[in-house]
């Protein structure tokens, strides 16, 4: 929790409400901000994030769109180029693939193609991740894929402060920012200081300090990783948990500093192993901290299978605490 608030001024809230508070703050602060997406208005958002905002801000600023991901993402890009600060909500990352042309071919390239004359200060929020038995077209974790693209910034807020505070920083950024909200976090409760403010979007955060091994993770996997770290503590292993928060740009300095201290690293990533952000981080550690390592870098990723529907298979496909512990112990041998 942020040190800006005291226990007295902290409010019991959910990740969903914190995300909504972030959007509401932005709408109140900046008349250029508006929210646009499928069912963000009358329905209240497919995950309930924007509930009540239509009533407060009206249909000009809370815009229900048709099922046209490419269309309304492109409109967000054009509006951003012409003085507005749109927040585009896409229901899930799987649907964002319908807008890949706009995100990758337009949003990410326009500043460069125009020699710096035009920028796209657009924020696109979307849900990501598995765990709700939504099967293979609503559960994937493709944020690492987007992190491949120069011109984009990719955020994965895992805490109440981050989901509220990163949005404001993202809206102030002159370039397109993608925010991935893990579906299992929406119902997470916690205390959020009433004065919680902007959060940087280029800095990783140490969520637990340790000296024996660095567990690197982000988004929905943070809590499984913290649980694994607690279990390791019972074995007298002090694990440091590094929450990346931002997948592009990666906070190389924080990663290298932690790994150089602990000399061991395991990366926990809900994306598939092949070509993953975990692979990228592992390579950077190899390039920049190889001589500090006492063991090969370990990885815990999703099994290379589209996410299955049955609970037992879905759970088996995803990074879980026992696998994180096993990878950590292997690294500690």
């Amino acid at each position: 929790m942020s040190d800006t608030g005291t226990a007295e001024s902290a409010l019991e809230t959910t990740y969903r409400e914190a995300a909504r508070a972030g959007i509401r703050d932005a709408l109140l602060r900046d008349p250029r901000v508006f929210l646009m997406g499928e069912d963000v208005g009358r329905y209240g958002g497919c995950y309930g994030v924007s509930k009540g905002l239509l009533e407060e801000f009206g249909p000009e600023r809370i815009r229900d769109t048709p099922l046209s991901e490419s269309g309304f993402t492109g409109i967000g890009i054009g509006a951003a180029m012409n003085g507005m600060r749109p927040i585009v909500e896409i229901m899930t990352v799987n649907f964002a693939l319908l807008a890949l042309d706009q995100i990758v071919n337009n949003a990410a390239t326009i500043r460069h193609m125009s020699g710096g004359q035009f920028g796209v200060p657009l924020v696109i929020r979307m849900a990501t991740g598995a765990g709700r038995q939504l099967a293979a077209q609503h559960s994937h974790s493709l944020e690492g894929w987007f992190a491949h693209i120069p011109g984009l910034k990719v955020l994965t807020p895992a805490t109440l402060e981050d989901v509220r505070g990163m949005l404001w920083t993202a809206l102030e950024d002159p370039d397109p920012v993608l925010i991935f909200e893990h579906v299992l976090l929406y119902n997470m409760t916690g205390r959020l200081p009433s004065g919680a403010g902007a959060v940087p979007i280029d800095k990783a955060a140490i969520r637990r300090e340790g000296k024996d091994i660095t567990l690197i993770t982000y988004g929905g996997s943070l809590y499984k990783t913290l649980e694994a770290a607690r279990a390791l503590a019972a074995e007298r292993v002090e694990a440091e948990v590094l929450d990346l928060r931002t997948l592009r740009p990666l906070d190389d300095a924080a990663i290298i500093a932690s790994v150089s201290k602990t000399r061991r690293a395991v990366i926990v990533d809900e994306g598939w192993r092949s070509g993953s952000i975990a692979a990228e981080i592992s390579a950077r550690i190899m390039e920049r901290a190889f001589w500090s390592l006492d063991a090969p870098v370990g990885r815990v990723c999703s099994a290379e299978v589209p996410i299955p529907y049955p609970r037992h298979l879905e759970e088996a496909a995803l990074p879980q605490v026992p696998a994180i512990l096993a990878a950590a112990r292997e690294t500690l041998k």
Binding site: G71, I75, S114, F118
Partner: protein, 331 residues
């Protein structure tokens, strides 16, 4: 010439001369680009719009300086007609640092903020939602600007065309959609790719006001653009012009044109917008050969100067390779 519906006042000799000069300027510029391509001064893809000049030439005068333009990868004429200086366009063709996009874009991606030229886009259909977004921003900010969005008929086969048409109509966005229907999407003839070949009917099905224009007749295009812009400013709703035209040259410099006959090309060349306007003005006693000669001389001099300036311009230092990916701190 379709002059009956044109506002008569605008048909002054000066106006017509200006249109003629602009079409010749664009034609000769592109012919020079083809030459420069042969000698490998211009590389990559080069898509010429020779034969289609009447459309951008006719539409641009209907727009004001605060209106925005979105174009495609076949946009040299659009940039020139909008007023992007020729040396900056030519330098961009060369990839030089003095180009209108610092050389980073090239032929397919001309940009110029000063003229509100929001760029040439090379993913067919992808620029239509973007144009609708520019218009939405103008509307939300209470500005009366129009966004003119140029694209080929091939875009009508893309989902983004339909998404943009629906949203522009639904949200009443001030967009002038200008479809340059040259009958071929690269090498695929319209009737081989569309069940409905009247493209404007697709716009109408979204309740976007639309009309068909002879895209080989610059006066007809200008008159239609004036009507359309007036209607958009009045209603704050989109408008669709389907301009029927023809590309005389290959799709790009790599195209042997196996998909159409020489006879068909020759048939369309009889409707070449430049000789058409010359003949019409001459028969109306508004033009003499000496006028045409003077235009040609001035254009040739402008092109020579643009080429010389592009030749002399420096290359961007390789050390700057990774610039313009993200915003830079003010220097």
């Amino acid at each position: 010439m379709t002059v009956a519906s044109s506002p008569k006042l605008r048909l002054s000799r000066e106006t017509l001369l200006k249109l003629l000069r602009e079409m010749i300027r664009i034609r000769r510029f592109e012919e020079k680009c083809a030459e420069l391509y042969q000698v490998e001064k211009i590389r990559g893809f080069l898509h010429l719009a020779i034969g289609e000049e009447a459309i951008c030439t006719g539409v641009m005068p209907a727009l004001g300086p605060q209106d925005a333009i979105v174009a495609t990868y076949r946009e040299h004429g659009h940039a020139l007609a909008r007023g992007v200086p020729m040396p900056a366009v030519m330098a961009e063709m060369y990839g030089k640092h003095s180009g209108c996009a610092l050389g980073r874009g090239g032929s397919m991606h001309l940009f110029s903020a000063r003229e509100r030229f929001y760029g040439g886009y090379a993913i067919v259909g992808g620029s239509l939602p973007l144009a609708a977004g520019l218009a939405l921003a103008d509307k939300m900010q209470g500005k009366k600007n129009v966004t003119a969005c140029f694209f080929g008929e091939g875009a009508a086969a893309e989902g983004e065309f339909h998404e943009a048409m629906n949203l522009a109509a639904l949200w009443k966005l001030p967009v002038l959609f200008v479809c340059e229907n040259n009958l071929y999407a690269m090498g695929t003839r319209l009737d081989l790719s569309e069940s409905e070949t009247d493209i404007h009917k697709k716009a109408e099905s979204y309740r976007v006001r639309s009309e068909v224009v002879d895209g080989m007749d610059v006066i007809a295009v200008e008159a239609a653009a004036m009507r359309a812009i007036a209607a958009i400013r009045e209603s704050n709703e989109p408008y669709f012009l389907e301009c029927r035209t023809y590309r005389f040259r290959a799709h790009s410099m790599f195209d042997p044109q196996l998909y159409r006959t020489r006879v068909e090309v020759e048939e369309w060349k009889k409707r070449d917008p430049i000789p058409r306007l010359v003949e019409w003005m001459t028969s109306a006693n508004m033009l003499h050969q000496s006028d045409v000669d003077a235009i040609e001389r001035a254009v040739a001099a402008e092109i020579d100067a643009a080429v010389a300036s592009a030749e002399a311009a420096p290359w961007e230092p390789v050390e700057e390779l990774t610039r313009h990916v993200y915003a830079e701190p003010q220097r």
